[in-house]
């Protein structure tokens, strides 16, 4: 089997997150692969619909939950449209896990602040569940999630669950104009809510993911709160094909997102050319 040949997976569950975003739960057909498959929070894979092509997404489920993987995607192009049309029981392909991961072992004993905009919650959600499934290892957990509108908030059932937990501080926000009459969360852009939530920086780590513009305005807020750039992590998703450092397209200057990433610290990003 060559490295480009995927494992077969079966769609076990489909969850509509927003009008254009769906989560698929996928189970490996090969029992041995299902039993032995391991990954770390932050890694990604190549998902494919046969006859349509491959797409790169993070693994959105937590490595603490074995036997299946989940991906969340927005219906934008050819492959994601085909993925949206798959029924429970249909088969597709997956190869991975690829890339580096969030260094959770370094964060043990510390506070973690998760900040995610829109579908950027997918890779962050993987880490959130990893941390919550091993809750005693960490101290304060803060989650800040923003979307354009109430309808665009992803993982709504999980947001509710996190909001009800006494050991999680949850902030949800929508862009001005995106609120509904019964909206009880915040209204405002993510950087402003981060400022308002003001998580303490001492012994803390931040994991930030979202659109480039959100990241651009959130990093200075975090730095002002006292988060050093080497304790702020994000994950990048450049266009990729091979996922394994050969096809030549995902580099940012000397760094290959597929091999050196997709997880980077703000300090690492600051050293890269501004080409992402």
């Amino acid at each position: 089997m060559n490295v480009y040949q995927p494992w077969r997976v079966r769609v076990e569950e489909r969850i509509d997150e927003t009008p254009d975003t769906r989560t698929l739960r996928l189970r490996f057909l090969d029992e041995e692969v299902a039993r032995n498959f391991r990954f770390r929070a932050g890694q990604f894979g190549e998902y494919s619909v046969f006859g349509e092509g491959e797409c790169t997404f993070c693994i959105a489920s937590s490595p603490t939950r074995q036997g299946y993987i989940e991906c969340s995607f927005k219906t934008v192009g050819k492959v994601t449209t085909a993925m949206k049309d798959l029924e429970v029981g249909d088969e597709m392909g997956f190869r991975g896990p690829y890339g580096n991961h969030f260094p959770l072992d370094r964060m043990e004993g510390g506070n973690i602040v998760f900040i995610a905009g829109g579908i950027g919650l997918a890779p962050v959600r993987c880490v959130i569940w990893n941390v919550l499934d091993e809750r005693p290892k960490y101290r304060d957990v803060t989650i800040i999630h923003g979307a354009r509108s109430v309808a665009d908030l992803v993982y709504k059932r999980e947001l509710k669950e996190w909001g009800e937990r006494p050991d999680v501080r949850l902030w949800t926000t929508v862009d001005p104009g995106g609120e509904t009459p019964d909206w009880k969360g915040e209204v405002g852009f993510v950087p402003a809510i981060v400022q308002k939530a003001a998580p303490k920086a001492d012994n803390s780590w931040a994991i930030v993911c979202g659109p480039p513009i959100m990241i651009q305005y959130t990093l200075p807020v975090l730095e002002k709160l006292g988060f050093p750039p080497d304790r702020i992590y994000t994950t990048l998703e450049n266009r990729m094909k091979c996922g394994i450092g050969k096809c030549g397209r995902c580099n940012i200057g000397p760094v290959y997102v597929c091999k050196d990433g997709p997880v980077f610290t703000a300090a690492e990003l600051a050293r890269l050319p501004k080409e992402f």
């Binding site: 060559n2 490295v3 077969r8 450049n238």
Partner: protein, 348 residues
């Protein structure tokens, strides 16, 4: 100067090619094609063979085909059957590779083999004996001597040949080459000193540049206006990448033959197009030709050397000869080298 060499005559070579054909070993060599150009082609005899003329395109496509299936699939209702393909390991001999093409092979082994092993590439590599013929001297676009090679470099060659009047003087470069020579020894004869010595290699090409200095300049001049300047004449056609022996970027696409079956294929791609890096959202990290031209030069002379310790270029000069707007890599490298060497240059 070649020592301990072996010889092969024109007649011996003809007989060797016939024996290879009989043994079902594919022979690939530079040959005239219908439009008069020379390309690496499958040969059954020496009638169209043109050693000593640089083929229009590199040898790359015989190891990384323009398009190749990675596996096949067949859908049966919700189920999918994935059909693994046999590795492309049919035995082959390249007869008369250009040294600048042969040298690209070990360069590409590095990227094809790090961490994950690209089986189709290595299946072809292992099944192929590369016999190179020393270059008789190139044109003003050639610059192999500026990237650490020479017209008679043996890099990537299992045997290196030089014409010596009536035939070729043969030098063994690898164990695979030695085994080939042993297997087909009846067509070769030992050199006994009476033969004409091969011609001296041609003089080095005009471009003098220091790859280390160039790399240092590139690494510190990402925002330099020079990239904008060179991009103004670029059409983004990607012709440079198509003819290049070391450009290896590829795309992976599904090509259905009908609604239920087809293949996932690997196709050549190029960093010179917008689609190469465009995200599904429409955002493009390399949104104009400036970024794409910069990427190509960066990848070859800074990024690849940083990771694999050598430039991603053999100085074959094809990109300069092919470019419809006259983009000349020797001019680009020469200017960078001069800046790097000058006051305030990154190389000082």
């Amino acid at each position: 100067m070649m020592t301990n060499s072996t010889l092969i005559t024109q007649e011996g070579l003809s007989a060797l090619v016939e024996d290879l054909r009989q043994a079902r070993i594919q022979v690939i060599g530079p040959a005239r094609v219908s439009d008069g150009a020379v390309e690496y082609r499958r040969m059954t005899d020496l009638s169209g063979w043109t050693p000593g003329v640089q083929p229009r395109r590199s040898l790359k496509e015989w190891f990384l085909p323009v398009t190749e299936p990675l596996f096949r699939y067949r859908k049966e209702g919700p189920r999918v059957l994935v059909e693994e393909l046999a590795p492309p390991d049919a035995p082959r001999v390249v007869l008369g590779a250009y040294p600048c093409d042969a040298a690209a092979l070990p360069i590409l082994d590095a990227v094809m083999g790090w961490d994950y092993r690209d089986e189709p590439w290595f299946a072809r590599r292992e099944a192929t004996v590369v016999i190179s013929q020393a270059c008789p001297g190139g044109d003003r676009s050639c610059f192999c001597t500026a990237v650490g090679l020479t017209p008679d470099s043996a890099a990537g060659s299992d045997l290196l040949w030089k014409p010596n009047g009536s035939g070729w003087q043969v030098r063994v470069e690898t164990a695979k080459g030695e085994a080939f020579l042993q297997q087909w020894s009846r067509h070769f004869q030992p050199a006994n000193g009476n033969h004409v010595q091969p011609a001296e290699p041609p003089p080095p090409q005009p471009l003098r540049a220091d790859p280390e200095r160039i790399r240092a300049w590139i690494e510190t001049h990402f925002e330099d206006p020079f990239w904008q300047e060179i991009s103004l004449r670029c059409h983004g056609c990607g012709g440079c990448a198509a003819v290049c022996p070391t450009c290896h970027c590829f795309d992976i696409v599904d090509e259905p033959e009908n609604p239920v079956q087809g293949a996932r294929r690997r196709n050549w791609d190029t960093c010179q197009t917008a689609l190469f890096t465009r995200h599904a959202s429409g955002h493009n990290p390399r949104e104009d030709q400036c970024g794409r031209c910069r990427q190509r030069v960066n990848h070859k002379f800074a990024i690849y050397p940083a990771r694999f310790g050598r430039v991603l270029c053999t100085g074959c000069g094809r990109c300069a000869r092919t470019c419809p707007s006259g983009q000349d890599i020797t001019e680009i490298l020469s200017r960078i080298d001069q800046w790097a060497a000058g006051p305030g240059g990154a190389g000082t």
